[in-house]
Symmetry: C2
Subunit: 299 residues, 2 copies
Amino acid sequence: MAKLSEIGEEALVEQLTSGLKSGRNVIAGAGQDDCAVIRNPDAPEKLTLLKTDCIVEGVHYLPETPPSKVGWKAMARAVSDIAAMGGVPEQALVTIVIQPDREVAYVRSLYKGLERAARDHNISIVGGETSSCASAAMISVSLTGHVEKSACTRRNGGRPGDTLYVTGQLGGSLGGRHLTFRPRLAEARWLTTHFNVRAMLDLSDGLASDLPCLAKCSATGFQIKPERLPRHRGCDLKQATSDGEDYELLFAMGPRDSRRLSATWPKKFPKLALTKIGYLTKPGVAEGLDPGGWNHFTS
Amino acid sequence: MAKLSEIGEEALVEQLTSGLKSGRNVIAGAGQDDCAVIRNPDAPEKLTLLKTDCIVEGVHYLPETPPSKVGWKAMARAVSDIAAMGGVPEQALVTIVIQPDREVAYVRSLYKGLERAARDHNISIVGGETSSCASAAMISVSLTGHVEKSACTRRNGGRPGDTLYVTGQLGGSLGGRHLTFRPRLAEARWLTTHFNVRAMLDLSDGLASDLPCLAKCSATGFQIKPERLPRHRGCDLKQATSDGEDYELLFAMGPRDSRRLSATWPKKFPKLALTKIGYLTKPGVAEGLDPGGWNHFTS
């Protein structure tokens, strides 16, 4: 009998979700994109986005990590997924499962971090759940959001010849940025409402894992120039592609929009780098990148 | 520095949620009812319901509990909360945090239970999250739903003189029913669309904890006849009021509707008992019931 550690997260999710039946309002269901995408029966031009994400003590943060940063991270991760669809977050539900011998002050500080991240993105925390557990704590955030049909950006719309971009710098997130990153919500909204972004995701597992995923969803290959990858100071190529938790945007854009973007981005976001890292190609090509990245259960 | 075990769940939730700021679309936010209630900007007569709930191995089920029942319970608990508002569930997000050395077959069976409960209530599982943990597993379910403004039933609408009802029998849930119960979704929908149900909740912590809660939310007292409480076979009064996890409906109804209900319920739901257990009264009265029920962190 196979154990989870033998098959890994991706195969498990595939097994669990492959037979799922969804109602007719579900456009993208479990395992298909950064968020679930639901038709809004009361507003045909607007889609509902749903996302859940959790972080576990000892896996995504340490017992000694400042709790306000833990809370920030828990909320910001889910916001980053709403951003990756071109959406706007709305309401959050928060579950905290924690040891009974933790101090009340710890949980209050953790919640302050959640609240700060919520407030910064106009999110209302409208419900939650607390429960006790024996060992490692866990914080789960479910987010609702919306996106206009015209702005909704999936992973599967890329085409051969599209230019690939990443925002910011990659690698070395564990040095601290994984606790303090700002989800690229404003940037993603601007991109998806002003350009035809054909495919997008947020880099959570690392480019070496997330780019092949975007290409696979779009039924394309890819070709990147490793020397062009924007790396955080002190990071080598492997760290930049495999550390994960960058929470930067990776997206594909057609040639015409691409020229317009190059001209306007620096004026709109002068402090955030935007880098052309390569192109989508016909399927079967995977140039300039070793596979890798983070995998729960096997890593 | 106080520990969670010293202050208990209720005080913790109070501390965490008391300062929360919500957007103007939020009608009921964190800690205020069975579900969060959100205005739907695209359909003024329809409200959105949001609920999250989790179960923890060793707290809500045992390592040896059949996993398909664990999955059923995880989903059915959240459905019960949507029912308690008079609502209809729609989409679910499922998070499973589990030990890497568990067998794949265990998780697949657990998911089958989640799916069965979803299918039985026309819910689409549209997303989720899996992560590893060191010890006890945890399953969290977030549910969206909707309810017509006219059917939405809060905890806070009860008035002195209202009749109090419970469905089914109480107590002894740990004998097995806590894993196999059917959420009273159809019953609650029928009640809230045909009658003016003034206040309602689902009995999860036990009548001794949940009835004082309903009365407090409604700014009333209560008076019940202990000898009238419908008890499961073999259960004494303490078990019937304090075991918890009954997942039956407790609701309050005005005198006129109450007479009509008595005449019609037995025809509509001949297999499910409906019992008048007493009345809401003016504030300050708490007759026929010892306080108690389940409390995380301190129990």
